[in-house]
Symmetry: C2
Subunit: 130 residues, 2 copies
């Protein structure tokens, strides 16, 4: 469960936009969409994005440089994320699997190193595109 944060005006505007979107949004597409609300510069977008990622309200899809809203209460504040990505239609879905999170949270490498955070991106074809 997310710790509750009161979002600031810019954060709220940008979160709402991403949350309503059915697909991951890129920073400059976000910028274009919020210009009518007074957010004019890339930095204003990136600062809000950084904060939203930090508090776990959104996630960055690293392989796509794009952002989606978090809909997974078990992804402890951006620390453990997993996504499936369709290589044709680019649909991205957050994976919510207790088994997977448990496996990865407990994974230790050969040196016995335990990790505080991970990001996993699966690629394949979604139902529609198969």
């Amino acid at each position: 469960m997310h710790k509750e944060h009161t979002l600031t005006k810019n954060q709220q505007i940008i979160f709402d936009l991403i949350d309503k979107s059915s697909e991951p949004m890129k920073a400059y597409s976000i910028l274009f969409n919020v210009q009518k609300k007074g957010i004019k510069a890339p930095l204003q977008v990136y600062r809000a994005l950084d904060k939203l990622v930090e508090i776990g309200k959104i996630h960055k899809i690293e392989s796509r440089n794009a952002f989606i809203a978090c809909h997974n209460s078990s992804c402890q504040v951006a620390k453990a994320t997993a996504f499936s990505i369709c290589e044709i239609c680019e649909k991205v879905t957050e994976i919510s699997s207790a088994g997977l999170s448990k496996y990865l949270a407990n994974f230790k490498d050969k040196d016995g190193m335990k990790y505080s955070k991970y990001n996993l991106e699966f690629f394949g074809l979604c139902k529609k595109c198969r």
Copy 2:
């Protein structure tokens, strides 16, 4: 095991550089380093990088926009990659765990979707930085 490819001149120059590097290299740092060998433009670098990634000789660390040579014969041609990343010194290590690759290669989500490819990045502190 990698299918053997004969690298072209540019590919070989760029692979050698990355392979010798003890840390992931970024595209423009690569460019700077190979300019004395006649590779003058970003596109020449990116094309070689694309090909090297495609054939599995190097991997892209998505969260860092950087490239490392593959030292893991089990990462079937760029289809199944896992890395550990130190958040302080930025040291990146390719993870070679039969258990992990088996688990992820066989992972199916709720829709029974099976994936053809994945990339996993773990974050934490390396031995030195702890």
